[in-house]
């Protein structure tokens, strides 16, 4: 299908073994205060040293409570926000460095679908033109861009003749989200970040859109980063899952492995809070109490320790490093590191 699109698809440069995206030490602190007389009041540590690896043609689920830095990570990767620090390598090419991949090229390869299907479409523009806007920016003549846009509408399940000339408010939420997916596809991207893209939809519509995403992934050889707070959906769609807490990655690994054997107390708490039909699982709930602490100037040591049932004095001293606990399975908890001095370490 990608071959008959006028905009050429970006070629696979690094080969199948090269991860499509490698992120090292991504960091963003939002300074507080400011203003004419505002002094330095510290900063919100929104994203603090995040490492990500996404193999080609897989789906990485990113989960965590609201405010944990999931969406900021998405915006940092797409450079809608400039990161303070961090290295981004797209299919073997460093992004934003001299001689590397230019930003415009990255944004063609990496697209973002937002949560709010209505806010992410210009209310004064027909959806056909909204989808055609991107290809036009990249130099496609208007008529061809529209043709491509109609083609994509058809591909995401919206009959172009019927829907192309409509305005966003004339569509349902599910239809609008299909339009947003089509708009992302218009660039022939290789990686799509779905930021809570199905969270606002009804369960039944959600399933339809998820199925569409799975079909598109196979057909167009896409890779997804799927950001969500819905653990069931993440389990359904992802190959790997990454758990974030207060701007840091606490656990990452293959989805079956992490769901079956969570190692970080936070992951355990999250998973136990998932409504389950399995009575055996319902009994072992470790409820998460309280709200996440303030991300402004967090204290040293483990950031989860205030809410952790197994917290120990040592947790306040050492920031837990990420250690491997299985194939591809890493966790940032002192209990996973036998040498850490935590009494429950194994």
């Amino acid at each position: 299908m990608s071959n008959d699109l006028p905009l050429p698809s970006a070629e696979d440069r690094g080969g199948p073994a090269q991860p499509i995206l490698i992120v090292n030490g991504l960091r963003k602190h939002f300074p507080l205060g400011g203003g004419l007389f505002g002094g330095n009041k510290g900063a919100v540590h929104a994203v603090d040293g995040v490492n990500i690896t996404v193999p080609k043609r897989t789906t990485l689920g990113i989960v965590g409570e609201s405010g944990c830095g999931k969406s900021t990570t998405a915006r940092l990767l797409t450079r809608l926000i400039e990161p303070d620090e961090g290295e981004v390598i797209f299919d073997g090419e460093a992004v934003g460095v001299p001689g590397g991949m230019p930003l415009k090229e990255l944004r063609r390869n990496l697209q973002l679908v937002f949560q709010d299907s209505f806010a992410s479409l210009n209310p004064r523009m027909t959806i056909e033109r909204a989808i055609a806007f991107g290809p036009q920016v990249h130099g496609l003549p208007a008529s061809e861009a529209i043709e491509r846009s109609r083609h994509l509408l058809d591909r995401v399940g919206l009959e172009p003749g019927r829907f192309g000339g409509r305005y966003p408010h004339e569509l349902s939420g599910g239809q609008r989200q299909r339009v947003n997916i089509a708009r992302a596809l218009a660039f022939n991207p290789r990686l799509i970040i779905l930021d809570e893209s199905v969270s606002a939809l009804d369960k039944s519509v959600q399933a339809q859109v998820l199925n569409l995403l799975m079909d598109l992934k196979d057909e167009l050889k896409l890779t997804y980063m799927f950001i969500s707070h819905d653990l069931n959906v993440v389990q359904y769609i992802s190959d790997h899952v990454m758990v974030m807490y207060l701007g840091q990655v606490v656990e990452v690994g293959p989805v079956e492995e992490v769901y079956a054997h969570p190692r970080h107390p936070y992951t355990k708490a999250l998973l136990s809070a998932v409504p389950s039909l399995d009575p055996a699982r319902r009994t072992e709930r470790t409820p998460l109490t309280g709200d996440p602490p303030n991300p402004i100037n967090p204290p040293p040591g483990c950031r989860f320790r205030d809410r952790c049932p197994k917290a120990h004095a040592v947790c306040a001293e050492i920031a837990p490093p990420s250690v491997a606990v299985g194939a591809d399975h890493r966790v940032a908890c002192l209990m996973a590191d036998p040498a850490s001095g935590h009494p429950d370490a194994s």
Binding site: T78, S120, G134, R183
Partner: protein, 296 residues
Amino acid sequence: MSNALTQPTVPASIKQASRNYWVGVLRRIGREKLTVVCAAILLLIVLLALLAPWLIGADPYKTSMIRRLLPIGSPGYLLGTDELGRDMIARLAYGGRMSLLIGVMPVFIAFVIGSVVGIFAGYAGGRINMAIMRLLDVFYAFPSVLLAVAIAGALGQGISNSILALTLIFIPQLTRIAESVTTQVRTLDYVEAARMSGASSLTIIRVHILGNVLGPIFVYATGLVSVSMILASGLSFLGLGVKPPEPEWGLMLNTLRSAIYVNPWVAALPGAMIFITSMCFNLMADGIRSAMEVTE
């Protein structure tokens, strides 16, 4: 896959109606009687002013010592004559040209400049935005009438000075409105999506911002015309705007002031014209605003 989906069918009537946002706005305005009446009166005043040379037989400059200050209803001078014996109907009709010009021009110029600066500031955000807005705060330290009088007073009498003075006091207000709507729109996801497409800032502003911010700025500007008319004629009333013998409502009010003991109601006529025009602009702005706020 597409066949598996059942699409909710939108009734044809609604679909047609909401095709275009502005069609809907116009239709809602049409339903408001008061707004339509105001628009009609304004149209009448504008036409009378524009077509005065063809509609009005009398010469607005022709003075007459024997026909001074005739009362309303005098034969041949339906609205009487002024202190120099000039026909009031002709003076009021011709006066509308100048009054409308010096009332509308400042808002129009300020609308253009304020939109450009405000949209730029709002879209740029951050420190640039703050610097521009702090600079404008200085203007808010002046009561607007006082600032207009001061500038016009320092520059001296004249139409262009009066327009310049009023333009200067409206620019900060319109810039602030433009900045605040742009800031709101800029953070919407669809603008971020447009940035994701790699489009230049200019393209994004042209395609995605302008259409969504010009409406609210325009409505605010329409409301300002009313203030501008009062202030512009006020400057002429003080002797700062239009020079005699040019007919202009504010200036006519000033020169007729000494006649209030002889023929008071003729003296009050030019002011009534300012009042009616300004009120119609106000009510029309209200009508457009509420028609634009409703979304069906």
